[in-house]
Amino acid sequence: MDERDVTLDLLRELLSRQRLGVLATHGESGPYASLVAFAATDDLGRLTFATTRATRKFQFLTAEPRVAMLIDSRSDADLDFHRATAVTAVGPVAELEGEARDGACARFVARHPHLADFATAPTTALLALDVESYYLVRRFQTVTELHMR
């Protein structure tokens, strides 16, 4: 396996195991971070998450759609420094509408069944982070970049 396949496997493993990520946005008052539930598409090109439109993060990403999302496998122990993997996904976010929203919503709810009501509520926006690059960190300091296109 070459570096690309190794990286993709690690990434796939991480994104299929983790349910939550930290979304980093930026707005008038400066940087802001929020914990969100996400679902990744099979080709890893898109991370879908949901938020109600009244939130600060929604305001911020509407004004500045470029965001980062950190997803990691830490368990808050010494071993994390070496065994935990973390990835930062970077790219633009857009709200999903119409058919695209329906398909994505179904996948999101399949991943997070308990969030079905939340995801389908009229006040909730379903958002897609189209990933341009992943930055994968493992063993504390080994860093690999994956540029999606």
Partner: protein
């Protein structure tokens, strides 16, 4: 046990209920004592004491050492390095006061009664038919409470010895769970000692006894050849006796033990009489009875009194010959290193030089085809022979450096576990002499002395070149060196490379090794801020002590004249080992160059050689390269077609290896895999390679840093980097594939990190 486990247990309280806290060795000794065998009295420092010592920051540091890189990617040298760093952590971490006081109270009486032996007793070490003898340390003839506590820490550290790390899977080593118990036992200064197998490891109906005069450390570590008896297992009748040369014995000295000549009157006598032999065999059979399994027993005799020192189940072993045993065989004692050194310096190196010169004198072009093939045969055989000598003698001799490093760290407890290298570097190496000569050539070029330059270059090639005169190889070598001289000259003109002794370290990178300029590599590195670019984070505020001062500290740490003599001897050995790591490669390369020259001549004539004269490479099997059955399988995550992002490109951003030369360097990568790459090497580039070969070292003074796939602090690249005070990271898996010529690199030689782009 519900109550907390005591830190120390007396012999009488050691039984099966406390097995997990005292380890197999302690349990076996207690059992033998109860069976009525004479066992020297002992106490056990339980795993609870180990736990009290490592829990907290120390444990996190051990994790850090062992987890920063996949151990399967580590070469044996890197494992040794990790073990050395962990050992230093144990030495540098003081016993917490409460633990110290508790151990002192419990062991004071034992330590006060006379010299003791401090032995490892790792839980699981001898379990389930698996015996891993010799992976952990034991120390003989330790005197006084302070020394005992000191050695308890060293035995704890040996839970993470290089040997133990090699067998970590079988041992189930886990920094969060593994623990070590220590047996502190009265020493019996036996006059005759040995081992006894109640059943011959290879013959069910036979037994085996080995014996030496003196203590049995000589037998166990292989420095003293034992007398050997094969007996009929049931009757004890002697079937064979192999007498040893009986020239030396291991005897206790002030602190520790050493090899001494065996008194003449004892040389003619086997260590055991027929009656003794029966008693020793009976002892092994008795132990077998106690443990209901064939035993391997260590024993010693003082007068007519027979003591049992340890007993463990016999394991056949051997089946697991994946190279690890060969690596462990590289560990040599002081005495065997002295012998090796004589063999290498007095015999092998001069003979190699003579042989290369003799080959060089043969005019290949004038030989007829038959003669050329005969010459090829001769050279091939010679080269094969030297490769064998290299593997047998040269590689193990490098252990002198390790032995010294350990002794230095034990004596001085430096913050930097590699401080000892400062005492070794600066011993003139072939490659640094060669580089100094190159700097001279560059000076000639700069002065415009072009008419003499060709002659000087030829003289340089005669002295340092690897290729024989007149060969196509020599043509290529000349072109490469001329290009390098050109680069050095223009770099020196630009003031970015110091040339010889004319410029001091303050102007930039030294062309002469740091240590030869009379200051330690670290001190010089302080002065070369221009190259380092980023501020050096760990640089000492005051200049590091010089080499002479370090040497003085080291020698003064010896307690008496005898110890000091030994310490000086060890330093001398280590310096020889250090120098040889560089020189021996070059000597072997010269022989190989002669073989290659003959091969090229045969090729030129179109002679069919069928590849049978190709030079054999020096290689030890990779101890860890083979996946172990117990190894965790990579997570099965399908990268199936259709779901894989077709356009995705992976790129290494930050690579982790081992910090091998302190400093930070930034520059453009030059991945060197051929002579052409070397020729293209530009001043200020970062040298990226699989492993620095002796023929590559001349570009080192031009480089701003070194990145090597091969790992270890004592490998060629690391040695040269330290000599020149260059930032260096070794042991970067996939370095030459993940880094490309032209990539922008930052080499962090403090942390062992390479940042790409």
């Amino acid at each position: 046990m519900n109550a907390p486990v005591p830190l120390v247990l007396p012999e009488a309280e050691v039984d099966a209920r406390v097995a997990p806290y005292v380890g197999g060795k302690a349990l076996a000794l207690a059992k033998l004592g109860r069976a009525g065998l004479a066992v020297p009295p002992f106490s056990v420092v339980t795993t609870a004491a180990y736990e009290a010592f490592v829990d907290g920051p120390l444990q996190a540091r051990i994790l850090f050492e062992l987890e920063r890189k996949d151990v399967a990617d580590m070469r044996w040298e890197e494992i040794w390095d990790a073990a050395l760093r962990i050992r230093n952590l144990f030495l540098a971490t003081p016993l917490p006061a409460a633990l110290h006081d508790a151990l002192a109270a419990a062991l004071g009486a034992r330590a006060g009664e006379g010299p003791v032996v401090v032995r490892s007793s790792a839980p699981g070490e001898d379990s389930a038919g698996a015996s891993f003898a010799g992976l952990h340390e034991s120390y003989v003839n330790v005197r006084g409470l302070d020394a005992v506590l000191e050695h308890v820490r060293l035995v704890w550290a040996s839970l993470w010895s290089d040997a133990a790390l090699l067998y970590r899977r079988e041992l189930g080593l886990d920094p969060l769970r593994s623990r070590m118990a220590v047996v502190v036992q009265a020493i019996v200064a036996g006059e005759r000692s040995g081992v006894a197998f109640s059943r011959h490891p290879e013959r069910d109906d036979q037994a085996l006894v080995e014996a030496v005069h003196g203590l049995n450390q000589g037998l166990v570590d292989g420095t003293v050849e034992p007398d050997r008896w094969v007996l009929e297992r049931d009757s004890g009748v002697v079937l064979e006796h192999h007498a040893a040369a009986r020239e030396e014995m291991v005897a206790p000295t002030g602190a520790g033990v050493r090899l001494v000549p065996l008194p003449r009157r004892r040389r003619s006598r086997p260590p055991l009489t027929g009656d003794d032999l029966r008693r020793v065999h009976g002892l092994a059979r008795g132990a077998e009875g106690s443990f209901a399994a064939p035993q391997d027993v260590e024993w010693t005799m003082r007068g007519e009194e027979l003591f049992t020192l340890q007993s463990r189940p016999i394991t056949t072993g051997g089946a697991d010959d994946d190279g690890r045993a060969a690596y462990l065989g590289l560990r040599r004692s002081y005495d065997s290193l002295v012998v090796l050194r004589r063999r290498i310096e007095d015999e092998a190196l001069p003979a190699m030089a003579d042989e290369a010169a003799a080959f060089a004198a043969v005019p290949l072009a004038e030989l007829d085809d038959q003669g050329l093939l005969a010459e090829l045969e001769r050279r091939k055989q010679a080269h094969d022979g030297w490769v064998d000598v290299y593997t047998r003698d040269f590689i193990p001799f490098a252990h002198a450096v390790r032995l010294f490093g350990q002794a230095y760290n034990d004596a001085l407890r430096p913050d930097d576990p590699y401080e000892f290298i400062a005492l070794l570097s600066g011993t003139p190496m072939l490659s640094t002499r060669r580089n100094a000569a190159l700097a001279e050539l560059a000076a000639t070029r700069r002065r415009g002395g072009d008419e003499t330059l060709a002659g000087e270059l030829e003289a340089f090639l005669d002295e340092f070149g690897l290729e024989p005169p007149g060969s196509p190889g020599r043509e290529r070598e000349r072109a490469t060196m001329a290009a390098v001289v050109e680069r050095l000259a223009s770099a020196a003109a630009a003031g970015s490379v110091a040339s010889g002794a004319a410029t001091g370290p303050a102007t930039g990178r030294p062309a002469t090794p740091a240590a030869e300029q009379g200051s330690s590599a670290r001190a010089t590195e302080q002065g070369s801020g221009a190259r380092a670019g980023a501020a050096s984070r760990r640089g000492p505020a005051t200049p590091a002590p010089g080499r002479d001062e370090l040497e003085r500290h080291y020698l003064e740490s010896a307690h008496d004249g005898e110890e000091r003599e030994r310490a000086a001897g060890l330093l001398d050995l280590a310096r020889a080992g250090w120098r040889l790591r560089d020189d021996d490669n070059a000597y072997l390369d010269r022989i190989e160059a002669q073989l290659t020259a003959a091969l090229e001549e045969a090729e030129r004539r179109g002679l069919e050689t069928g590849g049978r004269f190709a030079p054999r490479a020096v290689a030890l099997p990779s101890p860890l390269g083979r996946p172990h059955p117990a190894a965790p399988q990579p997570a099965a995550a399908g990268t199936g077609p259709g779901t894989s992002p077709a356009g995705a490109i992976a790129k290494a951003r930050q690579l982790v290896g081992q910090p091998a030369g302190p400093g930070v360097g930034a520059g453009t990568a030059r991945v060197v895999s051929s002579l052409d790459d070397l020729r293209a090497f530009e001043e200020g580039e970062i040298l990226v390679c699989d492993a620095i070969e002796p023929g590559m070292t001349f570009v080192v003074p031009l480089s701003a840093g070194i990145v090597e796939r091969r790992g270890g602090m004592l490998i060629h690249g690391a040695i040269i980097a330290r000599e020149y005070g260059l930032p260096c990271v070794t042991g970067v898996p996939g370095a030459t594939e993940l880094i490309h010529t032209g990539d922008r690199l930052t080499v962090d030689g403090y942390l062992g990190i390479v940042v790409v782009g």
